[in-house]
Amino acid sequence: MANKFLIYVEQRDGNIKKSSFEALKKGSDLAKTMNAEIEAVIIGNEVNNLENIGGYGVNKITHLKNAELLNYSVSAYCELFVKFAEESDANYILLANTSMGKDLAPALAIKLNCALVVDCTAIEIQNGNLIATKPVYAGKAITVVETNTPKSIFTLRPNVFTIGQPSEDKADVTVKNIDSVNLSNKVIKVTKAEGKLDVAEANIIVSGGRGLKAAENFKMIEELAAQLGAATGASRAAVDAGWRPHSDQVGQTGKTVSPNLYIAVGISGAIQHLAGMQSSKFIVAINKDKDAPIFGVADYGIAGDAFEVVPALIEELKK
């Protein structure tokens, strides 16, 4: 059977997510090597610059469109995605491992009764099949897995797969107007944390821990993050103390992250925290205790007082 890839492209507020560009690029690279067909699908109302996905090597996309699809609804989106994927008959289906991808991929896996591998950090071709790398135990161990069903679904961890510089190619967009959508599950309100980047999607994260001593001291973490265009994160200790919301928590009972740069301030490096951030490309630790385990995973460290080092760092970056 000839191989065919289907990439699910995710939009929020009409904008394509960066993690979907990563899935498109990875999918098109794999399809090229396997000499396979590739297409993409997007669900939503108006979407900006959809033809630009051509720059990531996928030149065919179907836009399933209806005004009621403005906001994500698990019932509506799953129904449309599953139907499209069945008709597409692709045998490799790729999605970003986002809150939306984690709803859609399982619904399709059940419908197709096929293999599902989520949160992949690498996908390779071996003997004509896809082999995926998937961290487990929050990254304390890594599994390499294969699938043995005619079709397979993979979700890709955001921020891991590189996209490089997109080409000028434009994709052919086919708009399919959808008559009615299943809103048995309906989003009635979306609350955005004002101007806040999510740790799971950020290129740079500045995290604070117990060493910051109080909620108000996270102000300097926020300032440093703003200076770097970074998201703010927190250790479990800081969240349990009520200083930060759980959505900021990095670690085994929070989020597993892989940014380009992770700056840990006043975080000693409990094993459950290290598990969630040790796959970051570069790690900076700022901690008073030079024997803290965080220095064991850090590329660069300053074994000094965060209350002196962080303000100096903010000033230096302003220069």
């Binding site: 019932s75 135990y137 897995v145 309906k186 979306v190 597993t256 490309k281």
Partner: protein, 248 residues
Amino acid sequence: MKIVVCVNHVPDTATRVNISSNQKTIDSSGVTYVVNPYDEFAIEEALKTKEAIGGEVFAISLGNEANKETLRKVLAMGVDEAILLKTDDNLDSLSVAKALAEEIKNQNAELVFMGKQSVDYDNAVMGQLVAAILGYNIVSTATSFNLSGNKIVAEREIEGGKETIETTIPAIITAQKGLNEPRYASLKGIMAAKKKVIEEKIVQSSRNFVNVIEMQKPPKKAAGKIVGVDASAVPELVRLLKEEAKVI
């Protein structure tokens, strides 16, 4: 109403992980197992719902004999009945979902809670899989839950914010931290749990769709550089980030 809560028996997050000699699973010797942390929020929400509208809470856990330890803890928290879906096999998520769905159907439960993710395999898709099998509504990663009649209003966490969802039972809710504050088992609960019978059902073995070729430890990072011990090291740190790491 009959409420089901699915619970998993997992290594404590403070534990170090070693790979077993088969290179496909972790070495469980010397590892402390606990109730999956996210499942504690699911249990609490199930108990709160029962207290509000009446009914019974059944806990289901899939795994081997050792999972009984977790089921006892769950009974001690106030769950009415516990069922062990027993298997010694290492099932993939779809096989687990199918077994859980079958038992939920057996129990005729219209409201199911479980943790948003199990901190062993970290797939975070079990609730969604079971919901898709049963045709139930799903709210994944819920941070609030309200039931009135058969109508559910819940909030779920998404990247950089929250969605407020309206749906109806039958439904599966997967619990995120922040949903509630899980209760501790009372002494009375612990004593009562000891006397309760955990029902056992054998899970028919099925073919896994995903096979683990090997499990490894992540590559160890080379020791980093301590740039300095106070603020005077900051210019050098910034230089390294700009010129060596090229990340800012």
